[in-house]
Point group: none
Chain length 241, copies 2
């Protein structure tokens, strides 16, 4: 199943802070890797924009150090691509000395901070820490349907003023519905998203969990946000029922 609850601050166990360094100068990249590891970070390296973007997409990094001048795909394009995909991982850009690009470009492209080469290692670490410290902010927006709200990052759900406690499975199910309000989702589609891409089990689990959800988000409020569409699937009313 999907580890939906990893990395959630309140989940408790400490997790290594993961940094991705995208830098084509091999010596600089390795120096950074060694240094940051010594600081206690988990560091991955990419030597071109393409693999950098790929890695940033796949793994959940806490920050990305991104050179501007890169083979295959410039740092700008990598950053822009990430932002376009609603990936708000904090990005610290490294510019060429005084290149054709300037700082404003970097920020316009969605970077969170900017450093011009040559830079002092100490400054880089300081800025990185600053980014991480205030990196709680780049969190995904809250989903809403009527007075139903779901905060994906905080794993919180509320209806009106009332907080609602959901189990991980229930939460994942509701999140799927809230990302596609007013759309009928078939049981197989639900199974594929909330359970596993090739889940081989009784589709009845879906009915069971829809039932659980209804008891928590609808019944106590006399609402009917989660609707059955017989023969087709289920639908979350975009107005919250």
């Amino acid at each position: 199943m999907r580890p939906l609850s990893y990395g959630v601050p309140w989940a408790g166990q400490a997790r290594a802070v993961r940094i991705l360094v995208v830098e084509d100068e091999v010596r600089l990249a390795q120096a950074l890797q060694r240094g940051l590891r010594a600081e206690g970070f988990a560091v991955d390296i990419a030597h071109d924009g393409e693999t950098g973007l790929h890695l940033a997409r796949e793994a959940a990094y806490d920050a990305v150090v991104l050179d501007v001048m890169l083979p295959k795909l410039s740092g700008y394009r990598v950053c822009r691509a990430l932002r376009a995909e609603e990936n708000w991982v904090p990005v610290l850009m490294l510019s060429a000395k005084d290149g054709e690009y300037d700082q404003a470009d970097g920020l316009d492209v969605g970077a969170d901070d900017y450093l011009t080469k040559p830079f002092s290692y100490v400054v880089l670490v300081a800025r990185l820490r600053a980014l991480l410290r205030r990196s709680a902010p780049p969190r995904p927006p809250v989903l809403g349907a009527g007075d139903l709200r779901l905060d994906p990052a905080a794993h919180r759900v509320s209806r009106g003023q009332t907080q609602i406690a959901l189990t991980p499975r229930e939460f994942a199910l509701l999140e799927l519905f809230m990302r596609r309000p007013d759309e009928v989702l078939s049981k197989s589609e639900i199974l594929a998203h909330v359970w596993d891409a090739h889940y081989e089990g009784d589709p009845n689990v879906v009915e069971v969990y829809v039932g659980y959800l209804r008891r928590k988000i609808d019944a106590p409020f006399g609402r009917r946000a989660l609707q059955t569409v017989r023969g087709a699937g289920y639908r979350l009313a975009g107005n919250g029922g």
Copy 2:
């Protein structure tokens, strides 16, 4: 920019997407207004919380960009007031750099997303778009015939303002007709599409289901959208009867 309502035929002429910016720093407000207008949004400005709240109440905005620090009425209070009135317009909050308030407060108060100053303009636009996309999901394929509407994704049918409940079979049948309005469909063709490619049964089912449909989509409205073409099949009037 891309008109958010594209593909919704009955939406009539594309309506501008309206954004309200509530920001007391005049220069920032104007910069935002210029930038967002260049993106194709219709932008209104308020320089304090009171007029901001007033405007948000009066006009139907698609989103509100709301600074936290405002004269007369803080962004928090504005947002809380809107939510208390069951106004669920998407709100994007702009926090002071690292002020006394923090992000959690913003979300607790009912904001949908949160950005800390200084922010990158690109990120603001990206988040704004994300908010708009979520709140106004442009579900292109809505079929229409006169005042008859069928939304395949939502599995919903309506005539005028009235929602109509259809069984799966009825829905499939009507969908076939609405995809080919004004066209005469033979019973065998209908059987092949709505039932099974090689259905071996009484073609009378078609008559039966056409009857069911008429009782739901025509009779209550005194219309005749589903017409019999004796000896040939049935036709759905493209103008809804």
